[in-house]
């Protein structure tokens, strides 16, 4: 066993005559790792630099929100860590295939011998490096999930990683086969066909479903939250760019699941306010008939049974009316709808 030459495969090393184009150090094989490392280092550095400066800024989901930026950053960091590992394997493989190819007249016999038995140095560094890489990825991933308030992912009904921002816009995402609608408790509890958000604002998405399990995936703003019936699933993000984004259902929810998408908009704060106040006025004729704003709505009520008129499920159609955070909704319609499930009049 040779402590100095790493993976140096040898069988009766030294007995081999030096091959053409090869300058063996005195007394045997060349130091193969010393040849591989510069090649690997140059490739890894070039690959990482090109990725970071050329490809990285275009990596999905883009930079429309804090969570999108976070996802892009995480992806790029993980790529930067993974690329050298991949290249190490490839460089080693290419080097081995070339150097120890069988057709070479002076190829050393790579199988067996004391060198194949164990090599403390290689084992030590193998375990040390892989442990560091994996633990670093674990710590990095955990921090990147917790610090940016859940990173745009679902945190269930009682989020523990909340943004510290004082002002947040609450938007309720209501999924049903096969369309998303959106409710704005701070704009009279209006419900809309399209998701419109103000720029530079923290958004608290409250995602729920009226029937089966869906998933709300606002791609370019880096938010993805499962939509479960009778569950208020919360996720946060802060918008940082105006533009259009795609909303898709990302949980197979029936035959028209593929048709369950729409396009959302991030507008400037003033444009959003204009949109929201005019839409609130326009929707008012119907908003007064909507159930009071609640975090969840019973999926089996309201005609869900296919029976006429009466809810036979015995469940209340709505969860208790609630306010979110420190700032309650500006006004909420129909403050007390009867909690029984029989159809009520709109007055």
């Amino acid at each position: 066993m040779s402590e100095d030459t790493g993976f140096q495969p040898q069988s009766g090393a030294g007995a081999q005559p030096p091959g053409p184009g090869r300058t063996p150090p005195a007394g045997g094989q060349p130091h193969h790792f010393r040849r591989m490392i510069p090649i690997w280092l140059a490739l890894a550095l070039a690959c990482d630099l090109i990725w970071w400066f050329v490809v990285g800024p275009h990596v999905p989901p883009g930079d429309m929100s804090t969570s999108a930026v976070g996802a892009q950053f995480d992806f790029n960091v993980l790529f930067l860590a993974a690329a050298p590992v991949v290249l190490a394997v490839w460089v080693y493989l290419a080097y081995a295939v070339w150097t120890w190819r069988a057709s070479r007249a002076d190829a050393p016999e790579p199988v067996g011998g004391p060198a194949a038995r164990s090599n403390f140095k290689v084992q030590f560094w193998w375990i040390a490096i892989t442990t560091v890489v994996v633990l670093a990825a674990f710590v990095f991933g955990t921090v990147e999930l917790i610090v940016p308030a859940g990173a745009g992912g679902a945190e269930g009904p009682n989020p523990i990683w909340k943004p510290t921002a004082k002002h947040m816009l609450v938007v309720q995402v209501i999924a049903q086969q096969w369309k998303f609608t959106y409710r704005y408790p701070s704009y009279g509890g209006m419900q809309t066909n399209t998701l419109v958000l103000p720029n530079n604002t923290w958004i608290a998405f409250h995602v729920t479903s009226l029937d089966v399990i869906h998933s709300f995936w606002a791609y370019q703003i880096g938010v993805k939250v499962d939509a479960n019936p009778q569950l208020d699933d919360v996720a946060y993000t802060k918008t940082r760019q105006t533009g259009t984004f795609t909303v898709r259902c990302s949980e197979l929810c029936g035959i028209w699941h593929g048709a369950m998408f729409d396009y959302g908009k991030v507008l400037s704060k003033s444009a959003f306010d204009h949109w929201a106040t005019t839409t609130e006025k326009k929707q008012a004729v119907n908003t007064k008939y909507l159930p009071p704003f609640a975090w969840t709505y019973s999926p089996t009520a309201n005609g869900a049974t296919g029976a006429t008129g009466v809810n036979t499920s015995g469940q209340s159609p709505f969860s208790p009316e609630q306010h979110y955070g420190a700032t309650p909704a500006r006004k909420l319609v129909r403050s007390s709808l009867t909690s029984t499930a029989t159809p009520t009049t709109g007055t």
């Binding site: 086969q177 296919g306 159809p343």
Partner: protein
Amino acid sequence: MSRSWRIAIVLGLFACAVVLVVFTAMAYIATSPPTVSYLDSQPPGATVHLVMQTDGVVGSATGGAAHPTWVSYRIRTPKTHAWTHTTLVYLPAHSRIDVTIYQFDSGSPLRNQHFGMVTGTIGNDAKLNGKTFKVLNSYDTPNGQGVGHTFTVPSLGINVPLEGNDTSKKTFCTYGPCDPATQLHTKTTFAFTTPGVGNYRFQCFIPCGGGRYAGNGGAMQTLGYMGGFLEVRA
């Protein structure tokens, strides 16, 4: 058994399985409801009059419905005025479409009252039995029967709720095709403008697939019954 025999048997069974799979798949894929064309129903540029009905029970008298007990749309064929059992229709692009829907089914509150509002039509309103409306309160509709179905084209933002009927009335239509001249119905009319060429899906937002999980299986999701396409052609 010789080796070649065994190979022949395996290959034979494999061929049988392939044929079976292909035939089963084709039975689903190749079975499509007919398409009613409104392309030549009027001179180019003129308003198209699309007439449909919704039946609580489609019946099997015409069209040979595979599920005679399911709730379904029917589309009136221009010229012959036959009620074709389908939800596929050709419409001309960039044209005004005047829609009449005779709704024969009973009703209920909407699961999401959001779909009680008329959107995407010309004037953002519709007429129920001749009276203009913008919203139907599905808990308290004009004749108290809730909403039977909604005609909703999500990609065009079109949504029109269709009021339900009283099942206890003598003239309530128990199976289709129903007759607007003699049977109890609500009549909803509205107009919209077709966009460019494309396939626009429509569905109903009353989960009326009775007996299915969350009410959305069966008729609700099936082409020819409650799910369909407006195919806009040049």
